[in-house]
């Protein structure tokens, strides 16, 4: 990078007197590009290798030297995972469905509970507001492991062990603080005057909230929903602890259990990892705009 700056500088001097600083920027720009190329390789190569492995046969995956590009690409691993007739396929589709069910339920509940709470934290100034807000935020500091044993016992008391209800309730606890935090950022940016205008026109505070603020905060709600969904979809520890029956498992635990028994089926494992990533990556790519904006509004502005 230094050499490039040096190379760029003399040319700048011969061309004209002024653009010396601009030539210097070029050095930084090229450095930045090389760095981005490095980061792209670091990020993408493991994922590409996952895809390439997933379309190999078990034999082709264990060659030395490795087959960079599979000699005989095959979708057999995917067919196996997605075939409802096959026992592996049955399990995998079951896990997939369980994950989807738990994540969707968590997302809906997180939004329903977080919207009013975030609104209150943004607008009202009741005593303890600040304390409660930070108490909510602090929850995110504590690892799942601390809560595992007591929650397990709590779930036993509530009769929720081995049900998806136990997961949904628990996921709310880490989904909620983040949701409230993000949504509060959005509400903070919606002018109070809009609500005041509605109030003057005769709306109650709740009506103003429902009809004015809610539609305006739609991007925030979408962002919150994505975060909750991804969090729930990827969660592992609670699911591994609270669920023991095979037909109840969610994808991360299901895959882990399955492949601790079939340790050598690398193409299958890579195919399963890929399939598990598809829904969240698609969701992220489609709704990227909201995803990043939520952090801008929520995290950075306060």
């Amino acid at each position: 990078m230094t050499s490039m700056t040096e190379m760029a500088a003399p040319r700048g001097r011969t061309a004209s007197a002024a653009p010396r600083p601009r030539k210097k920027i070029d050095g930084w720009r090229w450095g930045g590009r090389i760095f981005l190329l490095f980061m792209l390789a670091y990020t993408a190569l493991p994922m590409i290798w996952m895809l390439l492995t997933s379309i190999k046969s078990g034999f082709a995956a264990t060659q030395f030297p490795p087959q960079w590009w599979p000699d005989e690409p095959t979708l057999a691993s995917y067919q196996k995972l997605l075939d409802p007739q096959n026992s592996v396929g049955q399990d995998f589709l079951r896990f997939f469905w369980n994950s989807l069910f738990v994540s969707v339920c968590t997302t809906i509940m997180a939004v329903v509970v977080a919207v009013p709470a975030a609104y209150a934290f943004s607008r009202f100034s009741f005593p303890g507001r600040k304390f409660l807000f930070f108490a909510v935020l602090l929850r995110n500091m504590f690892p799942a492991v601390i809560f595992l044993v007591p929650l397990f016992i709590l779930m036993r008391v509530l009769g929720l062990v081995n049900t998806h209800g136990s997961l949904i309730l628990t996921y709310l606890t880490f989904g909620l603080p983040l949701a409230i935090w993000l949504l509060k950022g959005f509400y903070d940016n919606i002018p109070v005057q809009l609500e005041q205008a509605a109030r003057i026109d005769g709306a109650t505070r709740f009506q103003a909230f429902l009809l004015i603020v809610m539609p305006l905060s739609a991007p925030g709600i979408i962002a919150t929903a994505i975060y909750s969904f991804i969090g729930a979809w990827n969660e592992y520890i609670y699911a591994a602890t609270f669920l023991t029956r095979n037909d109840q498992l969610t994808l991360p635990v299901g895959i882990q259990r399955f492949f601790s028994e079939n340790t050598t089926d690398f193409p299958g494992l890579m195919a399963a990892s890929f399939m598990m990533s598809v829904p969240v990556v698609v969701l992220f790519l489609v709704l990227q705009k909201y995803f990043v904006r939520a952090l801008t509004e929520g995290a950075v502005k306060h």
């Binding site: 600083p21 210097k24 930084w28 720009r29 760095f35 981005l36 792209l40 990020t43 993408a44 493991p46 994922m47 996952m50 492995t53 264990t62 030395f64 490795p66 709470a117 609104y119 934290f121 009202f124 005593p127 600040k130 409660l132 930070f134 935020l137 602090l138 929850r139 995110n140 504590f142 690892p143 799942a144 492991v145 601390i146 809560f147 044993v149 007591p150 709590l154 606890t173 991804i230 592992y236 520890i237 602890t241 991360p252 895959i255 882990q256 690398f266 494992l269 890579m270 990892s273 890929f274 598990m276 969240v280 990556v281 992220f284 790519l285 990227q288 952090l295 995290a299 950075v300 306060h302």
Partner: protein, 319 residues
């Protein structure tokens, strides 16, 4: 503390005639309805577990969670922990893991955000690709990297052999010396996008005029970064570093799935160790005592976190 509360909501005039706390609570009773659902959920799943963990840390419990048979042992569980060799080993691992992961992920994310700040062809695509590792499941990430590191068929080792760097496939994660750095690489892979997004978001708030003014005054690229952008982003940076540090301190999935803490505890960090004590060896009392210690460390971190957050808020309101 007082200044924080006084600062919290009310405008300056309200401080002059201050109704009693009870009056205030009563007057804003309707407001609590909005936060009530959240608070109820939080109480059930946070306050109760915390109380329970503290309580259990003073007991010895028989395996199988038959908690009627627990015996009160005072602080013996704590003594057991602090006098064990494993504790210090695991603590050292945790410190290395947390510091290295946080620092490198932050620096890489920061640099990537800066490099991505200027518009160029393909920027949006590149940004999306760089964020993907953060979105996918840590379980999937663990399996991908475990396969890359595989001691017989791993691609990384194979490449190193082909390039003539080593004689035979290195054993990345079954080796006491290389296991922790290998796992940190995976962790950074998953976490630098978070720092990148946060800094990218922060960069949008840096006023363009300020940078242009600095440029007119003859500041170099580095000077503009160091004297304008960097100080401007100090708030976001602090929050990002704290969030990363907490997340790393609390990470579980990557070490657990990839190595389970082995070989010979070389990749055990606090969380995986606690999990193993509780659910592997069923020593609930000791695991709870560990959790309480962890809890205290996190409270200290949390204090800085809250201070950083309210510092940001204060700056914004006070301006």
């Amino acid at each position: 503390m007082t200044t924080q509360i006084g600062f919290a909501g009310a405008p300056a005039q309200a401080r002059i005639v201050r109704p009693s706390v009870l009056q205030q609570i009563w007057a804003s009773r309707a407001d609590y309805l909005y936060v009530l659902p959240a608070i109820i959920v939080m109480l059930i799943v946070i306050a109760y577990p915390i109380y329970y963990t503290i309580d259990l840390s003073f007991f010895e419990t028989p395996p199988g969670l038959q908690l009627r048979d627990k015996n009160f042992v005072g602080v013996e569980n704590y003594a057991t922990i602090l006098s064990s060799n494993v504790f210090w080993r695991v603590t050292l691992n945790t410190v290395i893991w947390t510091f290295a992961s946080t620092l490198i992920a932050f620096v890489l994310g920061y640099a990537a955000a800066l490099a991505l700040h200027r518009d160029f062809a393909g920027r949006a695509v590149l940004r999306a690709i760089l964020i993907i590792p953060w979105v996918i499941s840590a379980v999937a990430a663990s399996y991908i990297w475990k396969w890359i590191y595989h001691s017989d068929f791993g691609i990384l080792g194979a490449v190193m052999v082909q390039m003539g760097l080593v004689e035979r496939q290195p054993n990345f994660i079954d080796n006491v010396h290389t296991v922790l750095p290998s796992l940190i690489v995976v962790n950074i892979w998953r976490e630098f996008p978070f720092a990148m997004i946060m800094i990218m978001a922060g960069l949008q708030t840096v006023p363009e005029q300020l940078l242009r003014a600095a440029k007119v005054d003859g500041a170099s690229t580095w000077q503009r970064f160091w004297h304008v952008t960097f100080p401007y982003l100090s708030g976001v940076s602090t929050v990002t570093i704290l969030l990363l540090a907490v997340a790393n301190f609390n990470s579980f999935i990557i070490p657990w799935i990839m190595t389970g803490g082995g070989p010979s505890n070389a990749s055990h960090i606090w969380i995986t160790h606690i999990y193993e004590l509780a659910f592997g060896r069923q020593r609930w009392g000791v695991a709870s005592a560990y959790s309480v210690l962890l809890f205290m460390i996190l409270m200290a971190l949390g204090y800085f976190y809250v201070r950083a957050l309210s510092g940001n808020e204060k700056r914004e309101h006070g301006a």
